[in-house]
């Protein structure tokens, strides 16, 4: 099953490589990983998506908690949560495809953020599934480049991850 593990890390050099190193050393897989500082400059927020059986996820969270730089951790998939990922994609937009691509962007509620005579650069935010579907829909148009941020997530309601 897919899990979104979100954690507060000490904002220290090497903290990220401790997390990444743990996954490679123990053979866990990372589907996506995103990290940035929080409103508290001493803390970073790291979100990673992984999948595995309940046992594996339990080990992953325990092992992550053992890292001295990990302050707090939550598996967002355990409760109601919101997840978002952003996609920047460059596609061919010439001839009759130009209108078709624009229509798809509107349907998916994306935005064209840069234009040339032959190309659109599009920004789209949503769940990973939505991004996948959008990419799938654009295949016919000719995708030139895709950039995804990886998943960020936050719990719904009053629940929060803070020190």
């Amino acid at each position: 099953m897919r899990h979104i593990i979100s954690m507060l890390l000490e904002n220290e050099s090497g903290a990220l490589s401790r997390v990444a190193g743990l996954f490679s050393a123990r053979g866990y897989n990372i589907e996506s990983l995103t990290v940035a500082p929080t409103e508290d400059a001493t803390l970073s927020r790291l979100t990673l998506v992984t999948s595995g059986s309940e046992d594996v996820i339990e080990q992953i969270t325990k092992q992550l908690n053992k890292l001295v730089d990990v302050v707090k951790l939550v598996d967002l998939a355990e409760g109601p949560h919101i997840e978002r990922e952003m996609l920047l994609i460059k596609v061919n937009a010439s001839g009759n495809m130009r209108d078709e691509v624009k229509r798809l962007v509107d349907i998916f509620r994306g935005r064209v953020i840069d234009v040339t005579e032959t190309m659109y650069t599009i920004e789209l935010t949503g769940t990973s599934n939505k991004l996948d579907a959008f990419i799938q829909a654009l295949r016919g148009a000719g995708i030139v480049e895709t950039v995804r941020t990886g998943v960020s997530g936050i719990a719904r309601g009053e629940k929060s991850l803070r020190v």
Binding site: S13, G14, R18, G21, Q59, Q63, N65, K66, V68, V70
Partner: protein, 577 residues
């Protein structure tokens, strides 16, 4: 008054109560070595190779329970310690390793003797820190000792650039430390402990299985009380030997790949397993699908990640072994329910039948020296009261089987990583900590050569260790596996061109002995032990065909032991000559 980073470093060690630092100087550490020269509180032991420093500090830590301290220079200084750090990491030994680093302005420039010490050690330390500012030095050192020694202990590396050791600031050593991201749980959950005690009392065929955690957690006394209160059989892992007195009738020996028949059979047949400070290592469990098929399992461990890692557990208890067992004892003493006497008597009857197989028996009228005989004799002559360090291989297993440890911290070996070369430097650490105690290093002709240079350190600091070299001219354990599992293709396991160990030892300024007949074993050991102030290297020329029994082959269950020692079929020296 402002002090330099180097002086602060030395003051920190003194304030931390560090007795010995094991190390080796070099460019990036020279300011620190200069500061060491100007004081006499912290004693420095100069090893001959940085791996030896890490193992010696490790041996010191295992024997005393206090953290071992290592000081090396940048680059090759720190890379040479990696094997030692990984050894300590696998066995959860508190070690604080300080490495010099090139100046902060040079980091990343591929400077002379530069290596990313924090990066290269990351997978084998509990934590590591690069100190970038002299103002952070004292608090970082405090933090390093705190992390290394609390919770599940482990090695911590502090990397100190040369300019940081030259810069000055006010010195203050923090009295205590608190970290928002590191708060190990120590006290077991009372509800879980109650549940565990209820399950223990309902057992018909109970088994208590304990590991190195009981020794690290100074919990041998409470374990002994708990086991005796219950009257249940107790087995120790290789790392846990000495946690429960080996000569006690409730002790059924070590378990696992080369454990006793009775311990492994009792594991297989038990209905309640109480695991304390043990981590269900593959050498202990054998095939997980065949592991304790009838048992409901309680697991006490200070590290939550150890629980249900390899084997799912019914009652997990996260907490320090000593506190949890003391709570268990309290509950047992006040409980109206008592262990089921009838079931227990039947269980012990069964265990005694297994015991009667006498699984550790060996050929006693051989014309060649049997390694088991050497260890049995060593045990008798030292009255079981020596500190025994060991290297890795057959001799390690025989030492574990034949030296009955009644006290914790007497058996010092590399269990997790299985590091050949560990025994001699580890013995140096033990001997420094306990100068009056008998310290013997049980080794083989292959292992000893991996850190033999430390004989020179032993001479410099007058460390009269007794080295028991079980010399069968083979990497015995490799040879044993090749015999069993590779159709006797003895690929590169024969040690040709061995040095004359007696002459070699003498060249280092010690006493060497060569013992070739079983009749000479006892006399030689007695003579060596009488030479209280000399290091004696005893080169026992042993039977090359001896194998370690009993044995569970990899991937087999506890009830699938090879028992009958059959004569190994190997080419001997004469045939090879």
């Amino acid at each position: 008054m402002e002090l330099t980073g180097a002086d602060i470093f030395v003051r920190c060690l003194a304030d931390e109560g560090v007795e010995y630092v094991f190390g080796y100087p070099g460019g990036a550490a020279l300011h620190i070595y200069d500061a060491l020269y100007k004081q006499d509180k912290v004693k420095h032991i100069l090893v001959r190779h940085e791996q030896g420093a890490a193992h010696a500090a490790d041996g010191y830590a295992r024997a005393t329970g206090r953290p071992g301290v290592v000081l090396v220079t940048s680059g090759p200084g720190v890379t040479n310690t990696i094997t030692g750090i990984a050894t300590a990491y696998m066995d959860s030994i508190p070690l604080v390793v300080f490495s010099g680093q090139v100046a902060t302005s040079l980091i990343g420039d591929d400077a002379f003797q530069e290596v990313d010490a924090v990066g290269i050690t990351r997978p084998c330390v509990k934590h590591n820190i690069l100190v970038k500012d002299v103002k952070d030095l004292a608090s970082t050192i405090k933090k390093a000792f705190y992390i290394a020694t609390t919770g599940r202990p482990g090695p911590v590396l502090v990397d100190i650039p040369k300019d940081v050791t030259a810069h000055k600031c006010e010195y203050e050593y923090p009295k205590s430390i608190s970290m928002r991201s590191y708060n190990p749980v120590t006290k077991g959950h009372p509800g879980q402990i109650k549940k565990a005690v209820d399950l223990m009392l309902a057992a018909k065929r109970p088994m208590i299985y304990t590991g190195g955690g009981v020794i690290l957690g100074e919990a041998s006394e409470s374990l002994t009380e708990l086991v005796r209160l219950l009257g249940y059989p107790c087995t120790n892992t290789l790392m846990g030997l000495g946690a429960y007195p080996a000569t006690d009738p409730l002790f059924v020996g070590m378990l696992g790949m080369h454990g006793t028949y009775e311990a492994n059979m009792a594991m297989h047949d038990c209905d309640v397993l109480i695991a304390i400070g043990a981590r269900f290592d593959d050498r202990v469990t054998g095939d997980l699908n065949k592991f304790c098929p009838h048992a409901r399992i309680v697991h006490v461990d200070v590290d939550p990640a150890s629980i249900s890692k390899n084997v799912p557990v019914e009652i997990p208890i996260v907490g320090a072994a000593d506190g949890v067992m003391r709570e268990m004892i309290k509950l047992l003493k006040t409980s109206k329910k008592k262990p089921d006497k009838e079931a227990l008597a039947a269980w012990w009857k069964q265990i005694d039948q297994w015991r009667a197989m006498n699984c550790l028996d060996y050929e006693r009228d051989s014309k060649l020296i049997k390694p088991q005989y050497v260890l049995e004799t060593l045990y008798e002559i030292t009255k079981g009261d020596a500190y025994i360090t060991s290297d890795v291989g057959q001799h390690q297993m025989w030492a574990a089987q034949f030296y009955k440890f009644d006290k914790p911290r007497r058996w010092i070996n590399s269990g997790g990583l299985g590091t050949m070369g560990f025994g001699l430097p580890a013995a140096m650490g033990v001997k420094l900590a306990f100068p009056k105690a008998t310290v013997a290093c049980v080794t083989g002709e292959a292992s000893i050569q991996m850190c033999i240079q430390e004989l020179s350190t032993c001479k410099q600091y007058d460390l009269p260790i007794k080295i028991i070299n079980l010399n069968n001219r083979y990497m015995g354990m490799v040879r044993q596996w090749q015999e069993f599992f590779y159709d006797r293709r003895y690929s590169h396991s024969y040690m040709d061109a061995l040095p004359d160990f007696v002459k070699l030892t003498e060249a280092y300024g010690h006493v060497g002995m060569k013992i070739e007949k079983p009749g000479d074993v006892e006399g030689a050991l007695k003579e060596a032990l009488k030479l209280k102030d000399r290091l004696v290297f005893m080169d026992f020329i042993t039977d090359q065909t001896e194998n370690v029994y009993p044995m569970i082959a990899a991937g087999k269950g506890h009830n699938e032991m090879h028992l009958k020692p059959c004569k190994a079929v190997v080419p001997t020296d004469r045939e090879l000559a």
